[in-house]
């Protein structure tokens, strides 16, 4: 059972659950995110990583939707020199577009490489779990768009929420737990090889 710090138990803490058993790699989430957030050509806020694993019974393909982890201890917030990147009380890490100077230090510091420079606005942008929709009581657009119901979003401090139940009832994994950033995107049925960055990197093929 996942235990939360005492101070955070009474407030909303949003989290994402990605059920890799259901994801079919259709990229609907990525495309819908682009439409919802006006993400320009050439950059993405979310994408689906394809990982192949050879097993005795053949080749298995995994689809891993990648999005901002909105970490508990976000490196981007720590290093942003102007405080343009900040964490909201509900855990969503967001960017003040009027304060970002575009130094790209947050991009360099993010262990998950989920930030990009918006070529139209010339500031850094990232997935913010559709905070404008969440504030209006809606689900993030990718969650609504997913045809397989592989994406779940909600308050993980609420024991009755679906994300709380999914996290407590299934074996879940997060990306790079060793970086101690406290990622809040939980993957169901993900092993280390599926989530790690260098699944097919050349150095491993030797």
């Amino acid at each position: 059972m996942l235990k939360l710090p005492a101070a955070s138990r009474n407030r909303v803490r949003y989290a994402f659950v990605v059920d890799l058993r259901k994801c079919i790699g259709c990229d609907t989430c990525s495309v819908d995110c682009k439409i919802e957030n006006d993400v320009p050509l050439g950059v993405w806020r979310t994408w689906v990583k394809k990982v192949e694993k050879r097993r005795k019974d053949g080749l298995h393909r995994f689809y891993v939707p990648v999005l901002c982890n909105n970490c508990e201890k976000p490196m981007c917030v720590t290093v942003c020199p102007t405080g343009a990147t900040y964490a909201r009380p509900d855990g969503i890490v967001t960017i003040d577009p009027h304060r970002c100077i575009g130094c790209r230090y947050c991009m360099a510091a993010c262990p998950y490489d989920v930030r990009y420079v918006d070529p139209l606005l010339n500031i850094v942008q990232k997935c913010n779990w559709c905070e404008h929709r969440v504030d209006a009581g809606l689900l993030p657009s990718c969650v609504e768009a997913c045809p397989m119901g592989a994406l779940w979003f909600g308050d993980m401090n609420d024991p009755q929420s679906i994300v709380s139940k999914l996290i407590s009832e299934n074996p879940v994994a997060v990306m790079k737990p060793e970086k101690d950033t406290g990622p809040h995107v939980f993957y169901i049925r993900a092993d280390r090889q599926v989530l790690e960055a260098r699944g097919g990197a050349p150095w491993k093929r030797e």
Binding site: M75, V79, T82, G83, R99, C110, Y112, D113, V114, A201
Partner: protein, 292 residues
Amino acid sequence: MPFGAFIIADFFFAGLSVGLYIISVAALFAGRDGWKPVARMGAVGAAVALVIALVCLILDLEQMHRFWYLFVHMNFSSPITWGSIFLALYGVIVLAYAFLSASGRESPARWLGLMGLPFAVGAHGYAGFVLLVCKGRDMWNSSAYPVMFLLAALLSGLAVIIIMNTIRLKYLTSNVSPEATDLQRRPLDILSYVLIFFLLVYLTILLSQLCMLGNSSEDNYIVYHMLTHWPWAFWYLGVEIAVGTGLPLVILIFSRLRKSFVWLDAACILVITGIIVMRAVVVLAGQRVPLH
């Protein structure tokens, strides 16, 4: 890649400025006639290099016109905020110091120079901290970088000041008596010894870091593997370590070569090349390991 050519240039020129400044202040405290031109050249060079570094830093921003936000909306957990403070204070000090040194007012220049040393160290040392806090980048996440950057700063400063001195002695002081030339020559010998010492320390740190990368975690091994294989091995092992650090050491160790201006300048050019390549390798190779 978040960091590119402007950051590499900024690291090099800011380091060069700090290196020249430290050598200039040390030369002022040496106090003898032969050291005065060294102090003056170092002071002016430090100011020029810092201006270039600051221009590169501002040009690197996506929103250049917002650079002043760094001093209005400060986040003290960010190394860049501390770097901005140190760079601003060091900038004021180095400009005043260059003015005082160039106008021959040695006593105030000496004390201002001494006071400015901590700011000089901070103005370039912060760059190492900028990298080391990036725990997602295994190559950067090393405590060696602040020290290595300061050593690189001193090395580039020493190499540039030696080249400037040899040019001055060879082409600009042709009518001076042989005794005076000997007096002018002495700082060059001492600077060469200092260069040898720092090259040895620098080489030790480079090699120990490589050993650490190859013998610790899997993530570090990936960086080690990248640095010891084509194409990065050419730049890292070949240019940075062998040509930029080892070869100048070999040249400088032989006193006959060290006494020759041509060989001395050649060694210094190699050192500068090695330092530029080191900045490029650190910045670019550090971002080559995929994160997702």
